[in-house]
Amino acid sequence: MSIRYLELVCPAGTPSALRTAVEAGADTVYCGFRDCTNARNYPGLNFDFDELCAGVTYAHARDCKVLVAINTFPRAGDESPWHRAVDHAAAAGVDAVILADLGVLDYATRCHPNLRRHLSVQASAANAPSIQFYRDHFDVRRVVLPRVLSVEAVAELIAETGIETEVFAFGSVGPMSEGRCYLSSYLTGLSPTSEGACAPASHVAYEEIDGRVLSRLGGVTLNCFARGEPAAYPTPCKGRYVTHGQASYLFEEPVGLNAIEILPQLKGAGVTALKIEGRQRSRAYVAEVVTTFRRALDALERCDEGTPTGQLHGNTEGGKETCGAYQKGWR
């Protein structure tokens, strides 16, 4: 595969989304199996083994790589689904697996030494010693960085570790400690890190009262959207909580991450790949976001003035965008 500029890594929640992403200009697509081994374990989503094999064939025929996320954490004494997922990914001929758990990394290293390993953001490796540990012990070739680093911090990490980095370019702002957040577990009894679904749909409920929409998770009201107010995902980190008699977003406002304006800075920092989040989104989202980023990256490669940034804010939570921690102006 030729990396035209920054490698564009795109979500594929279903086989049709995979084809859409490839056609829209993805350099790489990432997907997961239909079980608890990946962090987007939602009903009707993901791939079985045959679908993955077909997807790999389709993508490789179009010079596009396929990565498989096996990025949840095995339950004690029940590692077999994760080991089977690694075996199936290797058998399907994928280009790399995206792993988070030490045991799964160890299994993949021992049983499939030639299968390229990436470190999932779920491992939350955000400092040089941590990244070097994964690189040195499991020959991890690429790390997906948590969304808590400024561009300068990303550049320093790359310089210090010498490892390929993949950073989020579009999706959630994600300021939580990824892979270690238990807010959703507290409300639902299900672990996002081992069951693979933060705010599982089975525990989500919406109620409309006089034009206002209440979103609940595990019976706890997380938000109330006024008539016409843009809505957000029903995750605890984006709940609006009442403190001192006033409702406000304590952890994170419903705002989407969009780094399309700072692609030159990310390139300058030495980033290898840009990740578009959204395996749980429809293929219409995939088509629009991937097409927009493809155009922006191609324009950047040609050194065109005025990189096209598109109009993606309609696809983001709350209808608002930010560069998040990349340009953080807070301490």
């Binding site: 279903t14 049709s16 989304a17 009707g44 749909a201 929409v213 959207f225 429809s282 989202y285 709350g318």
Partner: protein
């Protein structure tokens, strides 16, 4: 049918509003049979969902659609606008629902914008959305297939009728504008601006008078 061709939605909605319920039921049942036949994995994936009845409510149609999933046979029926008994509900306009079904718009985006409402068992709705989005469905293709050898003719006729309806709609709108010119507010605005100009002129004159008086008084003191 050309997959990129838009479904003649206004015609479809109009037809769906006036046809007898029994005819609509027969067409939707045939439509489902066609979709399941042309997309064999759709049946398998719908059957794998949690057993449930989902009401799909097109806000601009006088009835609902009820789809049963999670067990064979999968059914799609037309039910009363105020029917109950659903495990989950999805509501949006016909145009939005068709765009969703055919993969032209993202459901989360619609949700953020509040253009799509869901109630009841969210897991079933999410599962149904994902299963439908796995397929590249075309209502237009299925409707054309239902017409058999006359499908091509029906498609051309539908498009022609849609063009005629659009044209008639535009003419009606033009007539409406002629009969009810939107000038009332603009005329009021013009009058307001004229009054403002007159007041400014009067105030300017008054200011000049005051300035002259002040100057005369200052000269007198000096």
């Amino acid at each position: 049918m050309d997959r990129t061709a838009p479904l003649p939605l206004a015609l479809l909605r109009g037809t769906a509003t006036v046809l007898p319920r029994a005819v609509i039921s027969a067409i939707t049942a045939a439509l489902l049979r066609g979709l399941l036949k042309t997309h064999p994995r759709l049946l398998e994936n719908l059957t794998r969902l949690e057993p449930a009845i989902v009401h799909v409510i097109a806000s601009d149609l006088p009835y609902r659609f009820a789809i049963t999933v999670g067990r064979a046979p999968i059914t799609l029926t037309v039910v009363d606008r105020i029917a109950t008994g659903a495990d989950a509900q999805v509501s949006a306009s016909v145009a939005t629902l068709v765009d969703l079904l055919e993969g032209r718009i993202d459901s989360d985006t619609l949700f953020f914008r509040r253009d799509l409402r869901i109630a009841g068992n969210t897991a079933v709705v999410v599962g149904l959305r994902n299963v439908l989005d796995r397929e590249e469905l075309s209502i237009a293709n299925e409707l054309e297939a239902l017409c058999g050898p006359l499908g091509g003719t029906a498609r051309r006729l539908a498009r022609a009728l849609e063009v005629i309806a659009d044209s008639a709609g535009a003419r009606l709108a033009a007539m409406h504008r002629t009969l009810h010119p939107p000038g009332t507010e603009a005329q009021d605005l013009t009058a307001d601006v004229r009054r403002c100009h007159e007041e400014i002129a009067a105030l300017t004159a008054r200011l000049g008078t005051l300035e002259s008086r002040r100057k005369r008084q200052a000269d007198k003191i000096a």
